[in-house]
């Protein structure tokens, strides 16, 4: 992945300076009027929606640099999902590494997981093929289905690499295996995405 190439735009809704756009950004939230802005060919266009995230306690703060292990990274945007029937919520942080690479880090009440997209060689299993608590053989290992649920986007901020709107929904399955192995399968209208998770000790995330 190449390094980010910032460009400067103005918000079509309020005219304020839009955030300095990262090369891979597809969506940004105006810092002043909270309008959602689409980004196409390095141009911003208003999506006509506003997104305000309720602030909740978090180690990560957008625009600040953090260190964990050998990584130095900066959160640049996040999506908040609510799961089930308002059972809870979690944040998906889009972060930029000091190398320029971009990653997703999920945070569910202090559980931090780096999500790495995992390309499947074969067709993904259907969501309905999973049963909560049952084991399933995937990627040459036996994984236990630890959660099956539906997520609804309830807010956005900063810049994101995909077009997401408040109210968007997807189904997901969490699969856990031996030696801390963890996978997330996300299902929406466009298909299935698999992510391999790596646990991050919250006590090892320090301000840079």
């Amino acid at each position: 992945m190449s390094a980010a190439a910032p460009t400067q735009q103005n918000c079509p809704s309020c005219g304020a300076a839009a955030p300095v756009l990262l090369r891979h950004s597809k969506l940004a939230v105006c810092e002043f009027c909270n309008s959602t802005l689409f980004i196409e060919d390095a141009q911003v266009a208003s999506a006509g929606e506003k997104s305000v995230l309720t602030e909740i306690p978090s180690i990560l703060v957008r625009g600040r640099k953090f260190i964990t292990g050998n990584w130095t990274f900066e959160p640049v945007g996040r999506i908040r999902y609510e799961y089930g029937a308002s059972e809870g919520y979690w944040d998906e942080w889009w972060v930029q590494l000091s190398t320029g690479k971009m990653k997703w880090i999920s945070n569910d009440e202090g559980e931090y997981v780096i999500q790495n997209e995992f390309k499947l060689k074969d067709d993904p299993p259907a969501f309905d093929a999973f049963t909560l608590g049952r084991k399933v053989k995937l990627f040459d290992q036996m994984l236990t289905v630890t959660e099956l649920n539906e997520a609804t986007c309830i807010g956005l901020e900063g810049q994101l690499p995909e077009v997401v709107a408040v109210g968007d929904q997807h189904r997901y399955a969490h699969l856990e295996g031996p030696k801390g192995a963890m996978f997330t399968a996300e299902y929406d209208d466009e298909g299935c995405s698999f992510y391999k998770g790596a646990w991050v000790d919250p006590f090892e995330i320090k301000p840079a």
């Binding site: 180690i59 919520y89 000790d201």
Partner: protein
């Protein structure tokens, strides 16, 4: 959506008792401390099961209490009382921070350990004291035991069960510990850190602990006493200096030889004089060495010191040396030489008269061994043995900290090593 975590309350759906809620959305169960009902936090607090006649243990920290650990503010949301088959009981508090999640504060006989789940899976040996690496540290296997849950109250991130059993293996690298908990359903790993009890009391607003715990916790670090550290640092140099001085005096502190004579057995029996010798100083420290090659025999020598042919001092000194046995049973007592220090106030011309009361060496059969006696008298001698005693005392003090550490470590392992002996 209001995502802030605030204390809420519900009534127990079994007994109606008011129950405070302090956890977040990952809480799975709420246990009523009054009636023992376990309620499903994800299904409108319906009763999942009930554990009756369960006695609530005394708890130093109450549910809902907040305090900072490792710089992070936590709220105590639930508690388990866990115990082993030998009647030993301890508390495991589930604590919650909106930023850092759900962790544990264990309390046992006045000791606190902050522990958190980790995903690292080290290879842990079965043998006690065997080493394994985790969290970048080397741990030693301390103990393996079966643990059961005896009491549950408050919120937990899983559905609690009184009677739930796990097999726990503890590794220690004080102040850290690494635990493997195995049950029929799963295997989890915890990384713990021993916390100073006074700090925990302060963090949760409790009055300071009234006394130090009687026991030593598996992960308790040895904290050296400042005075012992100071003694170890400075004492070692003083001990070295005293030893050097003692050795120097022993080697070079004999003074000037004034007379050195050998008496043959006949002379000893009959009585004989040394030649005249001069003592030059005032208040001179004199060193008298007597040597006689006794072998399973003894001799007693009466010595009289003459100044200008006038007796000024008398002294009796025995030399005996016995030995026997062989190999491991070999023994010996006594010596073939004796040393006496005395002060001579006036300079002048002196001589010594010697007479062997026990002849020149008498053995157990009353026979004479008839050996020579050697006499040496030195002026201006310096007594070295006091410096040797001082050196020994200083070496002991310098090693006090090391010995205290050794005793602490011995006590740490005492309990579990005794367990093994019992088996």
């Amino acid at each position: 959506m209001n995502a802030e975590v605030k204390a809420r309350a519900v009534n127990c759906t079994q007994c109606g008792a008011p129950l405070e809620l302090h956890g977040g959305h990952r809480v799975r169960s709420l246990s009523c401390g009054f009636c023992g009902a376990v309620l499903d936090a994800k299904a409108e607090y319906q009763v999942v099961k009930q554990f009756k006649d369960v006695k609530r243990p005394p708890m130093p920290i109450k549910l809902g209490a907040t305090g900072k650990l490792k710089g992070i503010e936590f709220t105590v949301i639930g508690v388990l009382q866990v115990g082993d088959s030998e009647g030993y009981r301890w508390l495991e508090y589930q604590i919650f921070s909106p930023t850092h999640g759900y962790h544990w504060l264990d309390y046992s006989q006045g000791h606190f350990v902050f522990s958190r789940r980790v995903r690292e899976i080290p290879k842990i040996g079965a043998k006690q004291k065997s080493a394994f690496t985790a969290q970048g540290m080397t741990f030693k296997v301390y103990d393996t035991y079966a643990a059961s849950v005896y009491f549950v109250e408050g919120e937990l991130t899983y559905v609690a069960q009184v009677g739930h059993r796990t097999t726990v293996t503890e590794g220690i690298c004080p102040p850290y510990m690494f635990l493997r908990e195995r049950s029929d359903e799963e295997e989890e790993y915890q990384f713990g850190e021993y916390l100073d009890a006074a700090d925990v009391h302060k963090a949760f607003g409790l009055s300071p602990p009234t006394r130090q715990p009687n026991s030593i916790h598996a992960a308790q670090p040895y904290v050296a006493k400042p005075w012992a550290v100071s003694l170890a640092h400075t004492g070692r140099w003083f001990a070295l200096a005293a030893t050097v001085i003692a050795l120097a005096l022993f080697t070079f502190g004999n003074g000037k030889t004034r007379v050195k004579t050998k008496f043959n057995p006949a002379a000893v029996v009959k009585g004989a004089y040394t030649s005249d010798f001069s003592v030059e100083g005032t208040d001179s420290m004199m060193k008298l060495d007597l040597t006689s090659d006794q072998s399973n025999s003894w001799a007693w020598y009466d010595l009289t010191l003459f100044k200008d042919k006038v007796p000024v001092a008398e002294l009796g000194k025995g030399i005996s040396y016995y030995y026997g046995g062989s190999g491991e049973d070999a023994w010996s007592e006594g010596s073939t030489s004796e040393t006496v220090y005395f002060n001579l106030p006036d300079p002048g011309t002196y001589r010594v008269h010697v007479k062997g009361t026990g002849g020149a060496g008498e053995n157990n059969n009353g026979r004479m061994r008839n050996v020579d006696m050697h006499l040496t008298l030195n002026e201006d001698a310096i007594v070295s043995r006091y410096f040797f005693v001082l050196a020994i005392v200083l070496i002991f003090l310098a090693c006090a900290e090391r010995m205290m550490r050794w005793r602490f470590e011995a006590k740490r392992w005492e309990a579990v090593l005794e367990d093994d002996d019992d088996e």
